[in-house]
Symmetry: C2
Subunit: 349 residues, 2 copies
C-alpha cells in the first residue's frame, strides 16, 4: 500500500511534519503512537517514513487516518552506524527519504529520534545549509527553574571539532533560536568554559574570546555578549545561550542526563522504600512529579539543528510516545515560526 493510495486532500502539500518512523530505541511503535497523539491532541499532520509493514503493524488505525500518511523506505540507519557514509550509501533509508520529503516540499520540517549524526547528515545533504552558515549546530534548551525561558546549549553535538569562527556562528544561531523559541528579546550569550575570567579556557576558547569581544556578531543577531561562564550556569538563569564545541556540549548533555536520571530514580525509590514513605505519596506526588518532569533532561525531547534551509529537529533516542508527540508539536511550532527566515536574515547581512 503506498502513500498515494491513502493520502487525503488534507495531508497533501499541507503543513505536515516528516517523521523518521524507524528512528529511536522504541521505533516504530513509539513513533507511530506519538504521531497519533500529535494528531488527536494537537491536530498536527505527519508523514511517517519507514518500513510500511512495520509501521502499520504498530497500529491498525493508521489506514485512512486523515492526518497521518505513510511513505515506504526499505532501509534503516542503525543507532550506532557511522552517520555520513550510512546516509550516502543508504539512499532508501527512512531518514534520507524523510529529509527528501522536506526538500521536495512534501513536508515542512523533519523530525528524527534516530541516529543523531545520520539525521544531521541527511539534513545537510538533502535539505542543505543556509547560505553563509559554515556548519549547522544543535541547540538543546535546558530548563531554568521558575522561568518559562530556557538556556540553549550550542553546540550540543553537531561539530565535535569546532573552530573559533564556528563558535561565533553557533552563538548567532543560538541567539536567534532562543529569541524565536522563548521570546527572549536580547539573548545573553556566554562562552562555556572553565573559569569566568577572560584568560581561562582551552586554546579554542581563548581564540574564540578574541572574536567574541568584537561586538559585530552580537549586533547582527540582537544578542548581548556576557563573557565567560562555567557549567554551573547552564541552569542558573545567568545566560540564555551557552556556546561551546560539539564535543564538550554533547559530553555535558549526556553527563547531565545520566546524573539526573540516576538522582531522580534514587529519590523516587527512596520515596517508596518504607510503608511510611509510601503513605506520603498522596501529598507529595502532585508536588514532586511536575518538578521531576522539569528536571529530567530526557524530557527536553527536541533539539533543533540550527542553520539548515528548513526546520530539522532531533529527538532523544529513548523517546516514548509522549516525547515524540511533544517533539512533533515543537517541530511544527518551529516550522510555523519565522526562525529559519530569522537565521537567513542574520547570515545574509
Amino acid at each position: 500500500m503506498s502513500e498515494h493510495q491513502r493520502a487525503t486532500p488534507e495531508t497533501i502539500g499541507s503543513d505536515r511534519i516528516a517523521v523518521d518512523a524507524m528512528g529511536g530505541d522504541f521505533a516504530p511503535e513509539a513513533v507511530v503512537q506519538g504521531a497519533l497523539l500529535a494528531a488527536s491532541r494537537d491536530g498536527i499532520p505527519t508523514l511517517l517514513v519507514g518500513d510500511e509493514e512495520a509501521i502499520h503493524a504498530a497500529n491498525d488505525s493508521l489506514v485512512d487516518h486523515p492526518l497521518i500518511s505513510v511513505r515506504h523506505a526499505s532501509e534503516v540507519v542503525a543507532m550506532g552506524a557511522e552517520p555520513a557514509s550510512s546516509v550516502r550509501r543508504m539512499k532508501d533509508s527512512s531518514i534520507v527519504r524523510a529529509a527528501e520529503a522536506v526538500r521536495d516540499g512534501d513536508a515542512i520540517a523533519l523530525l528524527s529520534a534516530g541516529n543523531t549524526g545520520a539525521a544531521m547528515a541527511a539534513s545537510l545533504l538533502r535539505i542543505g545549509r543556509i547560505k553563509g552558515v559554515t556548519r549547522p549546530t544543535i541547540a538543546v534548551p535546558f530548563p531554568i527553574l521558575g522561568s518559562t525561558t530556557r538556556c540553549s546549549l550550542v553546540d550540543a553535538g553537531a561539530n565535535p571539532d569546532a573552530t573559533p569562527e564556528m563558535l561565533v556562528q553557533f552563538a548567532q544561531l543560538g541567539a536567534v533560536y532562543t529569541r524565536s523559541r522563548y521570546g527572549v528579546a536580547r539573548p545573553r550569550v556566554a562562552i562555556l568554559t572553565i573559569g569566568e575570567e577572560a584568560g581561562k579556557g582551552n586554546a579554542l576558547v581563548k581564540e574564540a574570546v578574541k572574536l567574541f569581544e568584537d561586538g559585530d556578531w552580537a549586533l547582527s543577531c540582537g544578542a548581548d555578549y556576557v563573557g565567560n561562564m562555567e557549567g554551573n550556569d547552564l541552569m542558573s538563569g545567568a545566560a540564555d545561550v551557552l556556546v561551546c564545541d560539539g564535543f564538550t556540549g554533547n559530553v555535558v548533555l549526556k553527563s547531565l542526563e545520566g546524573a539526573m536520571e540516576i538522582a531522580l530514580d534514587a529519590i523516587r525509590a527512596a520515596l517508596v522504600s518504607t510503608p511510611d514513605a509510601v503513605a506520603t505519596a498522596p501529598v507529595l506526588d502532585p508536588i514532586l512529579t511536575p518538578l521531576f518532569n522539569i528536571l529530567n533532561p530526557k524530557l527536553i525531547g527536541a533539539a533543533m539543528l540550527c542553520g539548515t534551509r528548513e526546520v530539522s529537529v532531533i529527538s532523544h533516542g529513548s523517546s516514548n510516545a509522549d516525547t515524540i508527540a511533544n517533539a512533533i508539536r515543537t517541530t511544527s511550532e518551529l516550522a510555523n515560526s519565522t526562525v529559519v527566515q530569522d537565521f537567513r536574515d542574520v547570515f545574509s547581512k
Copy 2:
C-alpha cells in the same frame, strides 16, 4: 606570634597536613573550624598557613592547640587570579608557603580550597612532578549509588589542552588512584567521549583511542581498558576511571555540580512548600538527607592532584568546615597510603 614559639613536640615533623588557611570562599573561618574538627574528631594534626592574625581571629582556641600550628604568610592568591604568574610572583602567599612546608618535610601533604590553578602551580613548582609524569592530573571521584566505590574523572581541570599521550598518563594515574583509594583491584578505564563506537569523538579522542588500544599502558598500571563511554556512565558504575582532557572534565564537573545543586534545592523547597508536605518530614528526612548528601557533588570535597612527588589535594572553593574536615581526613589517608609510591612504580617502569 610565630609557629616556632607555639609548636609542640607533637606537631613538629609529625604527619601533619599543610593547609592553605586562606583558600576558599569562606576562608579563613571555615578552614580553621575544619582543622579544629579534624583534630578533635580524627586526631589529625595540621599546619595552617596564612595570615596569622586572621587565622587566630577566626578562633581563640588555636593558641597552644596540641595538634594545630599556624605559619604566617603575608599574601593571598585570589580565587580569580591568573595561577602561574601569581604563584611565581607571590612568594609569600599562603599556597606557596604551604607547598614549601611539604617540600621541606614540615608536613606530609598539601590541602587547599583556594584557586585550583594556584594550588596546582604551587604543587608543581614547589613539590614537583614524579619522574616520568608529563603533567599531573586532577582526579574527581563521582559517587556510584549502591556501591562503596567511585568513578574517577581524570582530568577534572588540570590540563585544558591535553595531548593523546597525556590522556594515556591520566588513565594510568587515575587507575592507580582508584585502586589505592577505593580498593578496585583492576580498575576499568574508559575514554569519555560522545558515542560508544570507536570512531566517535573529537580529533583528540580519535588519536588517543589508537594509543589506548595498545595494551602496554594498561598492563603497567593493572587496569582494564573498556573502550569509549559517554557522560551518562559517569555515575552508572560501568567504569571506574573516565579519561578526558581537563577542559571537558572541568566543564562536566561544574555542570553536574550546578544542575545537581539546583535540582536538590528545588526538591528540598518542594518538600516544605505546603503544610501537608512539611508534615512528611519526620518520615522522609532520615531517608532523603543521606541520599541528598551522596548526590551532592560539592560534598565530594577533595580531589587529588595525581602525579606530584607528595600528596596534594584540592577541596571545593565553597567548602564549609565539615567539607574541610573531611578533606583533611582524605588528605591524611592518601598521605598515609602507598598511592604516591604506586605512581612512582608505574612511571619508573
